[in-house]
């Protein structure tokens, strides 16, 4: 019995030691068979567009928002007459294997254009499949470089992770947000470390003063007292958080509990913090985040999008909804720009050839997540990031 017990203990100890290596995402959601279609009238003049998203599970906030944004754009496009779209979203629960199955379901359905995946790890899996089949993919929000790297047919609507880190450092430096900066990132997550590494490189170049760098892992994401104390005792007045909103909410609460009130700066993973159930929004007051979209922007395009979205879903759209919306319009514009070279009766791979030529060939697109976007041959977008600050529980644009 004692021997058996010690084997168990050693096994568990090993799990604990090794848990720093994987990027785990415990997001097996409910097992509802998901998938939804926004149908258009005919079929011979209709493009079939598919995508995978976490419609259930811990990141469902992102998936549902993208799907709703895309559905809204499809409804608007179809109402114009002319080019018609049919949209099919499949649930991937933010699991790579589920996403691969979802991709195959979409292929059987006859998908011609792929909206890729909403989050990065499923995106890496579906990109490989889409590259093999030569289907054109445009991901709304899978920001890892691995989603596009090595494929000529996958494009991103969102910033790639390295750009987020660089842009954050540039923004802090330009606006002189903090004199002493602390960083807390999750070192077992490719998204968080990716942003941190490029942030650090750019910060050194710009001469930003990083006084404290601390980490956490999935298995130690409860207690942040040490990380917060380190930042506080080194006098940091700005904390950069390239992490998702769930651990960020704990950091806000624990810093407030010891009366430490620095400025916080987050990236797109922070988006969603205001929708966290039971979260005290006062804790997020003054939090800044880098996002390509701010719902209170005054331009006509954004104002129309926000009011139509609110009317249809009763919520203010977040950046993920905006990404989904822009993806559909970017594809719509690209098809129009081809002057009839792309038709709904073509095979997916032929459409891909044409769309790749458009996107990599200097096509510009202005949408709600940025004006005059262009794409390079690696599929990465070039656009100006916007920063928003949380005031009275809503996002307000910064300059």
């Amino acid at each position: 019995m004692k021997k058996f017990l010690s084997i168990v203990v050693v096994l568990i100890a090993m799990i604990g030691v090794l848990s720093g290596c994987g990027s785990s995402n415990n997001s097996a959601g409910t097992n509802q068979p998901a998938g939804s279609k926004t149908s258009a009238a005919g079929s011979s003049n209709t493009f079939k567009i598919g995508g995978t998203a976490p419609l259930t599970g811990s990141t469902a906030i992102y998936g549902v928002a993208v799907k709703q944004g895309a559905e809204l754009a499809v409804a608007e496009v179809n109402a114009k007459g002319g080019i018609q779209f049919e949209l099919n979203y499949q649930d991937d629960q933010q699991v790579a294997e589920t996403a691969a199955n979802a991709y195959n379901t979409l292929k059987d359905w006859g998908m011609q254009i792929f909206l890729s995946s909403v989050t990065s790890s499923p995106g890496v899996a579906t990109s490989a499949l889409a590259a093999k089949d030569h289907v054109f993919g445009l991901t709304p929000s899978a920001s890892s470089t691995d989603v596009t790297k090595g494929y000529n047919n996958i494009f991103q609507m969102c910033f790639a992770d390295p750009n987020q880190g660089t842009a954050s450092a540039q923004y802090m430096s330009k606006n002189k947000l903090g004199t002493k900066i602390a960083v807390i990132y999750r070192n077992d997550d490719v998204y968080s470390t990716g942003i941190y590494n490029t942030f650090k490189a750019e910060a050194e170049k710009l001469g930003l003063n990083i006084v404290s760098t601390t980490t956490f892992t999935d298995s130690s994401s409860n207690d942040f007292s040490v990380q917060i104390k380190d930042a506080q005792s080194k006098g940091a007045d700005l904390i950069f958080l390239p992490i998702y909103y769930t651990p960020a909410s704990l950091i806000f609460a624990q810093a407030a509990a010891i009366n430490y009130k620095p400025k916080y700066f987050g990236v797109d993973g922070m988006d969603g913090i205001l929708t966290l159930e039971g979260f005290d929004k006062n804790l997020a007051e003054g939090v800044m985040l880098l996002t390509p979209f701010s719902a209170d922007a005054k331009d006509q395009l954004t104002a129309d999008f926000v009011s139509n979205y609110k009317q249809k879903y009763g919520q203010i759209p977040n950046q993920f909804a905006a990404d989904g919306y822009d993806c559909i319009y970017a594809i719509y514009d690209a098809i129009q720009a081809s002057h009839g070279a792309i038709t709904p009766t073509m095979k997916a791979s032929d459409i891909a050839d044409q769309l790749i030529a458009e996107f990599a060939g200097g096509f510009t697109f202005s949408g709600v997540t940025g004006a005059n976007m262009t794409w390079n041959a690696n599929g990465q977008v070039s656009k100006e990031p916007k920063a928003v600050v949380i005031q009275n529980g809503v996002y307000v644009g910064m300059n």
């Binding site: 604990g16 415990n26 097996a28 959601g29 469902a60 070192n187 409860n222 990380q227 104390k229 009366n259």
Partner: protein, 293 residues
Amino acid sequence: MVFLFHLISGLSLGSIYAIIALGYTMVYGIAKMLNFAHGDVIMVGGYISFFASSAWGLPPVVSLFLAIIVCIVLGVTIERLAYKPLRHATSLAVLITAIGVSYLLQNAAQLLWTSNPKVFTSIVGFTHFAPLGGKLDISLIAIVTVAVSAVIMALLTWFTGQTKIGKAMRACSEDRGASQLMGINVDFTISVTFAIGAALAAVAGVLMCSMYPTLTPTTGAMPGIKAFTAAVFGGIGSIPGAMLGGVLLGIIEIFAKAYISTQLSDTIVFVVLILVLLVKPTGLLGRKITEKV
């Protein structure tokens, strides 16, 4: 001053591990099984308290008692349905069953309450003290947690040492067959043990969620494993050992993070554990039992 701050953080984190470890050690000591579903009972306790206080608006103390009651019912039911039929099976079979129950609870929670995180409201509020002229800052929940775990340890020591049912538990722990011959109702005793373990899990869940207020269906998994480690560290089966192991584990974890590396803290914790077990295989306060043939 920073050292004191870290010590208090370590103490309060350690006290949570200690309460969970007490549950592990009780069940192991008496039923001789590793109840890996213990961590997930903690999660259920957290959810019950969350819904009781935020959805139904019950006062914190009532929500705590509701969580305790639900967890006791759950713990006893699990024992009756999943473990009792395996009482004479090999320990490996019971262990696998316990892991199965753990996954069952996690997935059931995902179905029932979705995996979107919920933010728990602390049962004692956000009060904190600033002694020593404001140089130090201690939250009330940290004090409550340390106090509750000390009280629970004292109560359990008294309970197993002095009461009739407590003595029955110790008898079962020493020799189940002989205690049955002496007229002790073994099944009932084991059920009571599970009820106590589940009640402790509910208390741990509510305290843990008060301190670290994010609640997901996997909330209990990692603290459960760490607390199990703490129980073994202190000497599984021993009540003061679980307390000592839990508190030490919390302090080592926080100090490793603060003074060595935040990246390596988990590695350091488990390396310390492995070293202790190499030197003292029965844990810090574990009794060495020589098996008589």
